[in-house]
């Protein structure tokens, strides 16, 4: 049983791909909030600029996944030894960021849709909407922090 088998990079690259599944959450968030904005835009087009905040937040969630993917991919180098330990770390980092991105995007979409529709009738909902969206956003941030902490462990000394 070798510590650095040749199939170890498979797990590393799987981590890279798993991190981009936060884009699925961001897509759901964008589309669900977009439905609400399309509804609001029929009646008060001047509110559209402020109502696009959920869409921008969904974009940020996708950026979290992108940054983790680039971070993990930067640690993969065929010229160096790559242990199975590092492969599993990268897979865990990618999965944690991807799943929390899914959750955060889902939350942003549903909250964005309902709050944007409510903002049409009551302008004081705006502050509440931004607060709730921030809390939904940091769910994705937690996964990113876990991914960052995990990724620092790949420099642990593992002798092949």
């Amino acid at each position: 049983m070798s510590v650095c088998p040749p199939y170890a990079p498979f797990f590393g690259f799987s981590g890279v791909t798993a991190a981009v599944s936060s884009t699925v959450g961001a897509a759901y968030g964008t589309s669900k909030a977009g439905i609400g904005i399309a509804g609001l835009g029929q009646f008060k087009p001047e509110l559209i600029m402020k109502s696009l905040i959920p869409v921008v937040m969904s974009g940020i969630i996708a950026v979290y996944g992108l940054v983790v993917s680039v971070l993990i991919a930067g640690g993969l180098d065929p010229a160096k030894d790559y242990s199975l330990y590092a492969g599993f770390i990268h897979l865990a980092a990618g999965l944690s960021c991807g799943f929390t991105g899914l959750a955060a995007g889902y939350a942003v979409g549903i909250v964005g849709d309902s709050c944007v529709r409510a903002y049409l009738h009551e302008s004081k909902v705006f502050v509440a909407m931004v607060l709730i969206l921030i809390f939904a956003e940091v769910l994705g941030l937690y996964g990113l922090i876990v991914a960052l902490i995990l990724n620092t462990r790949t420099t642990d000394d593992v002798q092949c």
């Binding site: 509110l47 600029m49 402020k50 950026v63 940054v67 983790v68 960052l148 990724n151």
Partner: protein
């Protein structure tokens, strides 16, 4: 077409349509370019290859773009409120 309310509304609509699209395009480009650009620039020139600090820089940059969008959208909303208040002034003068 000398009714000042109609003039104000037309000006508002024109400035709103052009201005909103330009702002949105600028933010879309910024959201795409700023995080990944700041990641690589800080990785190569600031942090000497320490990828964790570069990732933190990229996340902070992305959140700065988000906060600036929120601030700009609220500022634009309040400035368009002021033009509608000017329109209301015309309204009260006319009703005298």
């Amino acid at each position: 077409m000398s009714d000042p309310r109609i003039q104000v509304a037309k000006l508002q609509e024109q400035s709103a349509a052009g201005g909103v699209l330009a702002t949105l395009l600028a933010f879309a480009v910024a959201l795409a370019v700023v995080p990944i650009g700041s990641y690589f620039i800080s990785l190569w020139y600031l942090f000497d290859g320490n990828a964790t600090y570069a990732a933190i820089t990229a996340i902070v940059a992305a959140n700065i773009v988000l906060v600036s969008y929120v601030v700009i959208s609220m500022w634009e909303d309040s400035s368009s409120d002021k033009t509608s208040q000017v329109g209301k002034q015309f309204e009260t003068k006319k009703s005298r």
